[in-house]
């Protein structure tokens, strides 16, 4: 069995998006059908791949032409997707026939591009494409730092959201949510404080909101089968044969502690067979440099120290460390190509 997904995570600005794109390009050039997904709302991917700036949530084909220098005349199957919570929600609505129920002001506001739902909607979207079978492998570029952990916790959040406590709300409001759910005035009175809870909520938010809110919950509840698909993704992350994950650091930043913290956090949700990518290594550039002044010596020493310190710490906590060279070109294209070459040399098995 070959792996279905590769996950790139790390603190901000270490080069996750560029490395993920490089890996996608390298694997696509080997003939694999690849989907590259970014769930970072900053969406640097559109810059790296010169994609149109839209929130459509549509898949874009990356023209091989753009990376001709790397793939030559070969055809590549490389698609890219910028997450859009709104279109994920719409797709689920279509799947479950609940588009009308989801046409709710609260849901619309929450699924705005910066509405804060990105991480949760992303797990659903990723699982959707895994299930579709359209791709050999999905490469996932994740949001920085603790937002990556938020992403991993998402399916747990979804699960508890659809927890049985919610059913009690519907009993209280007497709205039918499905054939099997019996509603009754009596049950409502005895149910555990949900009535009280909503009356308090109404005090703070106004009664209109409570109505719209309940409608939103009902809409989401009716769509819950699509939401709960995300749980499958979560379960699979524990399986080594299912995924590769790359924690990315950069020698330009002294953030090994943060990387270790992320690894610890991630290990609660994922298997431990991970790679550490050390990006922007200066290596030979530094050893070839003969400083011509005391100030230059200080600069060289500090640059060498930070690189060595990071590599040393990396070797201690990770079995598999991949070093990537600094790329000194302005164009994102050049960065992707040079890093894809580095990936070609390492060729981590999928």
């Amino acid at each position: 069995m070959s792996k279905r997904i590769e996950i790139f995570c790390g603190t901000g600005g270490v080069g996750k998006t560029t490395l993920a794109t490089a890996r996608a390009l390298q694997l696509a050039t080997c003939g694999k059908k690849i989907l590259l997904i970014t769930i970072d709302p900053a969406k640097r991917l559109k810059e790296v791949l010169s994609l149109p700036d839209d929130d459509s949530g549509q898949v874009h084909r990356v023209p091989a032409q753009q990376f001709k220098e790397f793939c030559g005349e070969r055809e590549i199957h490389l698609d890219a997707l910028l997450m859009s919570p709104k279109s994920t929600m719409e797709r689920m609505g279509k799947e479950q026939g609940t588009l009308e129920d989801l046409d709710n002001p609260i849901i619309k506001i929450l699924t705005r591009p910066n509405g804060g739902m990105n991480e949760i909607m992303a797990t659903i979207e990723v699982q959707h494409y895994l299930k579709s079978g359209d791709y050999d492998l999905i490469i996932l570029d994740t949001p920085p730092g603790k937002h990556f952990i938020d992403f991993l916790v998402s399916s747990k959040k979804i699960n508890s959201f659809f927890d049985k406590t919610f059913i009690e709300i519907f009993k209280y409001v007497g709205k039918s949510i499905g054939k099997s759910e019996k509603t009754g005035l009596f049950q409502m009175v005895v149910s555990s404080g949900v009535k009280k809870l909503l009356s308090y909520l109404g005090k703070v938010t106004g009664a209109d909101f409570v109505d719209t809110f309940i409608d939103a919950i009902i809409g989401l509840y009716k769509t819950k089968d699509s939401f709960l698909e995300a749980l499958r993704f979560q379960e699979n992350l524990k399986i080594k044969e299912f995924s590769n994950w790359f924690l990315v650091t950069s020698v330009e930043q002294q953030k090994m502690e943060e990387a270790q913290e992320m690894r610890e956090g991630a290990l609660q949700f994922m298997h431990s067979d991970s790679y550490l990518g050390v990006n922007k290594c200066l290596g030979p550039h530094l050893s070839d440099w003969n400083p011509s002044s005391r100030e230059q010596q200080t600069l060289k020493d500090s640059m060498r120290d930070r690189e060595n310190r990071l590599k040393e710490a990396a070797g201690k906590s990770f079995d598999k460390v991949l070093e990537f060279p600094v790329v000194l070109g302005a164009s994102p294209n050049q960065h992707v190509i040079e890093l894809a070459r580095a990936f070609q040399d390492y060729d981590p098995p999928v």
């Binding site: 002001p105 929450l110 804060g116 949001p143 308090y200 106004g206 230059q296 994102p332």
Partner: protein, 284 residues
């Protein structure tokens, strides 16, 4: 090298000629040095005799570093803040605690991270309203998540329409959009990617009617001693290349000289922050 501490306290002890804002929000692309800049600003304000708190919105701060710099940290917890808020609205802390404990509310809170962010921001504003002497430096999340933070109050205003929460949101907005209250600092590196992200963020913030924004370019190698005073022939190739790129991006940024910060050649965070802090005057 000059001692950065004595430097900052002797030269910058007169903040009175400058309007010190109540709230500084430092944001920008990941890895541009938001934390270093936010801490340098807090240190500079403290050294100028200002009462200042540092707060980081989405990561646990390096307490040891804060202690060694003697910068007071404002410790806010989302759940506690929400509980306090609900308690005030319902005039009962007991009920508020009970509500926050219900699995229903708890999972709702988890699903909507913007809600927590708004409550934290609300609490920060309340602290600032209560204490006219206080300045808070907020080490904010990177661009996308910073927008979630700034947008959330607008989003929830749209959502609730009327009621007590909307009154509070309006009060929050009146305060934060008031003159001389909030200044947003967008940190950026002299690289094309950071520049693009910084400029995009600037546009999005302007759409939210946030006007007082300052871009600053951090970690410029071409300003570091040893590079700034060397001719090209004395520099290694990779630095020549780097300096070239930096200058290219800087030309597009078009910032005043005091908003271009040098790369500090040390691996110790404390030294970086102390060295940067005098240059923070230009950002206040």
């Amino acid at each position: 090298m000059k001692d950065p501490i004595s430097n900052s306290s002797s030269q910058h002890s007169t903040p009175s000629n400058k309007l010190i804002r109540k709230l500084y929000v430092v944001t920008g692309k990941g890895g541009v040095g938001k934390t270093s800049l936010a801490l340098s600003m807090a240190l500079h304000l403290k050294n100028s005799g200002r009462k200042v708190f540092y707060n980081s919105f989405d990561h646990t701060p390096d307490h040891q570093l804060l202690k060694s710099l003697d910068i007071p940290y404002l410790d806010l917890d989302i759940v506690d803040s929400a509980k306090t808020y609900m308690g005030k609205k319902l005039k009962s802390q007991t009920i508020a605690s009970w509500i926050m404990k219900t699995p229903f509310f708890h999972s709702l809170f988890n699903m909507i991270p913007g809600l927590g962010m708004m409550i934290l921001l609300g609490q920060i504003i309340e602290l600032l309203e209560d204490d006219p002497e206080l300045t808070i430096v907020l080490d904010s999340p990177a661009s996308g998540h910073a927008l979630t933070m700034f947008e959330s109050s607008h989003n929830f205003r749209d959502m609730f329409k009327t009621g007590l929460i909307v009154d509070d949101i309006d009060r929050m907005h009146r305060f934060i959009y008031g003159e001389g209250i909030l200044k947003t600092v967008i940190a950026c590196l002299p690289t094309q990617m950071a520049l693009t992200e910084g400029t995009e963020l600037l546009e999005s913030l302007k759409e939210l009617k946030i006007e007082d924004i300052q871009l600053v370019s951090n970690d410029n190698y071409h300003l570091t001693p040893g590079v700034s005073d060397s001719s090209e022939k004395d520099l290694p190739n990779f630095l020549i290349k780097k300096v070239e790129l930096e200058k290219e991006v800087s030309a597009k940024l078009n910032l005043q000289d005091n908003l271009l910060l040098a790369h500090i050649p040390t691996i110790h965070k404390k030294e970086v922050i102390e060295a940067l802090s005098p240059s923070m005057e230009g950002l206040l």
